[in-house]
Subunit: 190 residues, 2 copies
């Protein structure tokens, strides 16, 4: 998606550890005009498939997943990262390694809202090694729901998570794939 | 807002500790059709005021704040609760007590995206004692930005946070105010 690539090239900052900082429009301050365009692009790619539910991972995936869910006309379910006293006992859980926060995180999802046969599209703002995706996919499998595809705003191609999913047969569609992020700038996959 | 009150009455569950669980449509699985109606109601109340930015608190406020920001045509900025390696050093912080998670939480907001004179509307999904609001208001004051008002989806009136804010002169507008939640059901403020 050219619009997103241009925005990343113009405003994205590269931090040590190959972190691409886009907190001015995607994951701290959020540009809702851009979000709507991104959601429409996801709809153009996945719109031909039957989808019952959009899932994402708290926290920064919630904004784009909400707008995408409205675009698809389905509910959005976000997997929780912290243990909340509000969820109750009957939950699916999956452990992932968070590189951003430098610790193991337990993803949690109530069994009330994810059921056998549900056709699920995962939408998230970022993918690097694909750890969060692995956790959400694990939860979808536990529920015997069906993973229809994965839509990512920004994939860090050089960290391999997206290509591993594609190799396993998942329809993983990213709006922008960063191949290189270094001193010389940001290069996108063609 | 009748539509929201009806939904709470029909689907909300009361847990020990006066917790009203609405995770089927607001803060775990999210009904985006309802969210859009709620955002329009906020627009009807606050639409006459000049607003530059909508702020909320991660995580569950992000969904309604995103849709509201789109309705107002302004960016949405969400204050972070966990220390992320992505934010960098130049931040506003404020400590709050989280009753949901039973611990002290440091709210964090980059100085890059909140400036002196910004007219800010806070939107959040829930208010009880108003602790999260206190933190966000503190951050707005640190930035010398201007608090235009606060829009809340569900206020737990019996916990006093909203009334305290109104008494201090804040335009605090809640779509549903729960006065009582107990064995006999849920009562709303007229």
């Amino acid at each position: 998606m050219k619009l997103l690539e241009q925005r990343i090239a113009r405003e994205g900052k590269i931090l040590p550890g190959n972190i691409v900082k886009v907190d001015g429009f995607l994951n701290h301050r959020v540009d809702t005009v851009l979000l709507r365009e991104m959601a429409r692009d996801f709809k153009a790619h996945f719109g031909g498939k039957a989808i019952d539910l959009i899932m994402t991972c708290e926290a920064s995936g919630i904004a784009i997943a909400t707008v995408a869910a409205e675009e698809f006309g389905v509910p959005m379910l976000f997997v929780k990262k912290a243990k909340s006293s509000n969820l109750g006992g009957d939950v699916f859980t999956s452990e992932i390694q968070s590189y951003t926060y430098g610790k193991t995180v337990t993803l949690t999802c109530s069994k009330n809202w994810l059921h056998e046969g549900d056709r699920v599209l995962i939408i998230d703002d970022f993918m690097a090694r694909g750890e969060a995706m692995r956790g959400v996919i694990d939860i979808i499998a536990q529920a015997k729901a069906e993973l229809v595809g994965i839509g990512i705003a920004i994939e860090k191609g050089f960290q391999g998570g997206g290509d591993k999913l594609r190799a396993s047969g998942v329809d993983c569609y990213s709006l922008a794939i960063i191949e290189e992020a270094g001193e010389s700038g940001i290069c996108f996959r063609e």
